[in-house]
């Protein structure tokens, strides 16, 4: 049931999108709107990888490369 709800949400979310033209992306192109992690936040992610068991799915490390979890 949970999987079904998840798929419905995904499909609904996706199908509700309208195509935004390049000249309409002024607001989306604001650096604060970037969907990636900001460069300055990389160290924050690093110490969280060391101090917490969960990692990944944020553009940072998900394990390996260090003696961390």
């Amino acid at each position: 049931m949970k999987n079904l709800i998840m798929i419905i949400i995904l499909v609904t979310f996706f199908s509700s999108c309208s195509t935004v033209k390049e000249y309409e992306k002024v607001n989306l192109n604001d650096p604060d709107m970037a969907l990636t992690q900001m460069q300055i936040d990389r160290f924050e992610t690093n110490y969280q990888v060391y101090r917490e068991a969960a990692a990944g799915a944020n553009g940072g490390k998900s394990g390996g490369g260090c003696g961390c979890n």
């Binding site: 195509t19 935004v20 992306k25 969907l35 300055i40 110490y47 068991a53 799915a57 390996g64 003696g67």
Partner: protein, 488 residues
Amino acid sequence: MQLIMNKIFIIFVFLFGYLGYSQDEPIATYKKRVLEQTEVDFLMSYYSQDGDNAAVTGGIGTEELTDITPTFVFSIPLNEDDVLTVDAGISSYTSASSSNLNPFDVSGASNSGEDDDDEDDDNDRVQNGQASDIIGSPWVASSGASQQDVWGSITVDYSHSSDDRNFIWNTNISFATEYDYTSFGLGGGVAKLFNEKNTELSAHAKVYIDLWNPLYPTELDSYLDVDGDLDDGFFEDVDILDQNGNISTNWQPINGFSLIKDKGRNTYALTLSWAQILNKNSQFSFFVDIVQQQGWLGNPMQRVYFTDTENYFIGNASSIPNYTSKQNKDVFQLADDIERLPDSRFKIPVGFRYNHYLNEKTSLRTYYRFYTDDWGIVSHTASIELPFKISSKFTLYPSYRFYNQTAADYFAPFDEHLSTDQYYTSDYDLSKFSSNQFGFGVSYTDIFTKAHIWKLGLKNIDFRYNYYKRDTGLTANYFALGFKFQMN
């Protein structure tokens, strides 16, 4: 777990197919460079923490640690389509808990500049002092070689964008090293943009081939050095005390202690992501990582104490009743073993980011992650950030982050494991806890790069501060400063 992976895979296949069908024909006119000019980022962070649950001393003891990480990132456009990125940095840290790999340095007895490794641990540990002077404590940092170290890393990434900028591939290699660890990484990925760049699907893979140069608690590797003879080597003329403070020769690690045989640690990670513009003011991205780790996944520095075995100490007998108290400055309990964990771990973190442009001054940045693995850990992470422009050049970044996790199946606090267990750890990073993080930042941006250093124009200065607090008692302060320059 396999069922979930299959479903995720089917969803991505469906989306790739659907979006590929609706793709517009590219219009090749003016080709803008992917990166106009060389950019140089200089970043530095300072991190300090303190707490009372050091893993090196079995789940109690000082966790005091400081870390400084200067880093350079060079992004170099090779031509209109290709960018080379070189990311090099070091991390220099001082750690009270790591220093207690050899806690007896606090007495000066073994402060002879040795390397804390698993070789040559013999009589020189006691040559500078009387045996009765040898003390240590999980609450006091020692002065051994392991109290500080430098971690260095370099990553080189090459990326190529197609003429219409709708397809990007990249590949990268990385190398990192510290005194007990070496890592070699190899990765690559592809990204495809659809629907007038409103949708992006990407897949990236990364492999880390890591190798431990294991360091062990000094009493354990010394025990192996002397073949269990407590009148020889490190133990010569050293009084080992039982729980009642009486001299004893009965201490021995569980099963006589065994060194790590497989020192490798490999990580295989696949990341799938979907980024979607919803409208002129909002967009989201969805990430799934599938991670498999194999090899020695514990840390050989970390002690474990069993509740069903006798306790033995070196130091001041009168402090034994107060061993777990911070008042204990002069007695140390000998380890029963190092932590032992399974040689395999399968992780699935799923992340979702949603950003909304509220108005010309304010944006909303949100993030949520669900994480699960086959060690029994389930975690939720949620964060929110509200960038607020106070002028054309300055932006403020207030933020809040919540995190929680369940404990790993193999975790127990100090002196609560059973010697009959197959796997065990007292590392509080694997315990059940929740944390709150409050952050603040400020950014200065000059798109005209008026200020110069040599041929580099200053484009951006960023500052961040975070206060982090776990309900286990650990607290941390974090500062980061970043300068972005553009070659003129």
